[in-house]
């Protein structure tokens, strides 16, 4: 860009300067996304550690000193290391982009996740105590994980580049699916251990299976061939023994034998490990995608700088005079229809098309995230107009869904449809 200080009008306002500024802004955005991608990768590792910690705590709290449960102390250390590893990408994102006006939502999610993580020490402490409660431990771990998933969701939702947005959606859908699989493992294990599944647990189980299927669909819609192949060779392969245990659970006729718990735990754990393999792939693909997009934009910038350079030397067009007032003789134009003038127009139009395509693709991609966004908006609505906390709002939505035998998203839709009525009531109340 022009180098004159602000306040002293420089000699010209040139189109080519702003073509380059446009490209530079794109590059700044991609650099930010690269840092966001690193944060998301660190979050994915932390979530995996927390899921293991939650699973092992679950086993211990079920009073069964099975061999895997002995791994808990090691799992805690892993979680701590993953937590520490969160620091660098967070600090980088914050420090490298002090002027970024679009990190507000992501940072808010980060604040929420960190606040939830502050509960971790107390949770571990409680789990060691005499009144440790398996269900409470499960719920508290899951809350923390949900907050961390919120960071990944926001990264995908706020992403301004379609290829990277796609990679983020793919990673998010694997992570979300894995989290639902982890919850299914816990509910199933508790069911097999108790020899029964109550109505609420049964309903939750169906929701979790349904949710996993939708995650897999989203994944397969947006994943590239390599990731799809990894999915089909791993968790997507299907396992008759697993499906049989699932069916038994859903049917509610649980066998009296004790080793069903262990069988269920082992088979679901293997499945979760397989999903983790795909998740690692997806994180690597995200990183590669960020770097490729950045390199591409940098190359395009270099090419443009080269193609526009002659203009600089030839002093192509003086558009704007430095002195105020005066006649139009101050303007001098290069030869009309000169090759360079045409080249500039071509570059502007190419770039406009490129940007327009990005934006159109993004609209399509974001639609795939709308379900979660609508559920969140419905929750926010309840929190605002009924003064509920977030867990209360979630519970209220779930109860409504259960009572009407509907999906969460259908209830959210219905709620948002009557938003205006709720808003008016809120005003009346003041």
């Amino acid at each position: 860009m022009s180098t004159s200080p602000v306040g002293h009008p420089p000699a010209r306002l040139r189109a080519q300067d702003f073509i380059l500024a446009s490209r530079q802004s794109e590059i700044a955005g991609l650099q930010q996304l690269l840092h966001t991608g690193e944060l998301v990768t660190a979050v994915s590792a932390l979530v995996h550690c927390l899921q293991r910690e939650r699973g092992l705590s679950n086993i211990l709290l079920s009073n069964r000193a099975s061999p895997p449960a002995r791994g808990l102390p090691h799992a805690l250390t892993d979680t701590d290391a993953a937590l520490a590893a969160l620091h660098l990408p967070l600090a980088q994102l914050d420090r490298a982009h002090p002027q970024a006006g679009n990190l507000s939502r992501l940072f808010n999610r980060v604040a929420g996740a960190l606040h939830a993580l502050e509960e971790l020490a107390a949770l571990r402490e409680a789990n060691r105590g005499p009144t440790a409660d398996r269900a409470a431990s499960m719920r508290r771990y899951s809350d923390i994980i949900a907050r961390l998933l919120g960071v990944v969701f926001e990264a995908a939702d706020g992403c301004g580049n379609p290829a990277i947005s796609r990679a983020l959606i793919v990673l998010f859908s694997v992570m979300q699916g894995k989290e639902l699989a982890g919850q299914e493992r816990a509910i199933g294990a508790a069911g097999f251990a108790a020899g029964t599944l109550d109505d609420d647990a049964h309903r939750q189980l169906l929701d979790l299976i349904d949710g996993q299927e939708r995650c897999a669909q989203t994944f397969l819609t947006f994943a590239g061939p390599a990731l799809q192949a990894a999915w089909h060779a791993g968790p997507g392969q299907g396992n008759p023994a697993f499906e049989r245990l699932r069916r038994i659970l859903c049917a509610g006729r649980l066998p009296p034998e004790g080793d069903a718990v262990q069988a269920w735990f082992d088979i679901t754990s293997a499945r979760i490990d397989a999903i983790r393999g795909v998740e690692d792939h997806a994180a690597a693909a995200l990183n590669a995608c960020c770097r490729a997009a950045l390199a591409g934009a940098q190359q395009a910038l270099a090419a443009q700088q080269l193609s526009l350079a002659p203009a600089e030397e030839a002093g192509y067009t003086v558009l704007l005079a430095t002195t105020p007032g005066g006649e139009e003789a101050r303007y001098s134009t290069g030869p009309l229809g000169a090759p360079l003038g045409r080249a500039i127009l071509d570059v502007i139009q190419q770039q406009a098309q490129h940007l327009q395509q990005l934006s159109a693709e993004l609209t399509t991609l974001r639609a795939s995230l709308s379900e979660r966004r609508e559920i969140e908006r419905a929750k926010a609505l309840l929190m605002q107009h009924r003064g509920l906390s977030e867990p209360e709002a979630h519970k209220a939505l779930r109860s409504l869904a259960m009572a009407q035998n509907k999906k969460l998203i259908e209830i959210a839709h219905a709620l948002l449809a009557v938003e205006t009525v709720l808003a008016v009531r809120g005003e009346d109340a003041r």
Copy 2:
């Protein structure tokens, strides 16, 4: 934020730091919007000057040395001054936000506008020559103005704050309506002068009237009470004499008397001046809106800093240890359910709701811009797959619309619906 250098893991990752970072990012975004608003205001002044210059050139090229045409030299000077005034906001936007990753599209539009403005000197030169052509002059001025309006459209479309986005949409709709009114003035004047209106001009006239009505509707949908009142007291008041001349034009039975040209020109000019009055209001409202949003966010930040300050002093929660490895004893939590912990959660949730509301409002607002966006996408499609230039693509769309007696937007819709087919053809061709 944390002050330790990158690479040395700092003592803690605290939720409250990221609450503040979230707010700071919002403020950075609003500062950028303030600068964008200043740019848009400067563009609005420049467009007005160019419209006057175009109108006066039109009169001169019609070979009628009417009194207003004598103002042309003065108008040229005004345009030059308005062009020079564009520099400061542009430089400010570019320099104040070097890390902004979301200015790519705006800068691309600026490049397009500046490139078009580089034609201005040649256009003025041509208009002074012996082969000066009224229609060509009109078209070339209108092209420049269209590019400048593109900058304002992009500012509205890319804006991340609903209140400011609304103010930008209001300003854009007034500017767009005024531009259509200016084109109507020119077509009508030519028609009255020639005593006839050909089919193409007639069709264009109907489009222009229709377009102005839709601009007025958009304006009234989003403008505040003061601006609405200004509209109803000015251009929205209606003028029977103007409507009568419009009707005569549309009916195509033009009177033989010569003073109809002057009457038409005077009455449409008065109308355009009235719209300009509303435009000035809208620009002032935009500026006030930007400043209010910025002040509000800064106040909220100060309030949050104050409410979160005790946490800093009390060393509320140590979440993360500095040393790698080790046991979980490194974690120490503040009292569970302490007032501050709850306060932090409240702030996070308030902010999340605030951000979510912004985003939901924006979705609604942007829908109002979708028509123009779709027409642009349809044009881009034609440019890409048929190798057309932008004016050619626009002409192709208009011809299709004329041939089928449909609106431009309907043709754009139809084109976008078959986009996939076009894309496949494009691939085949390679």
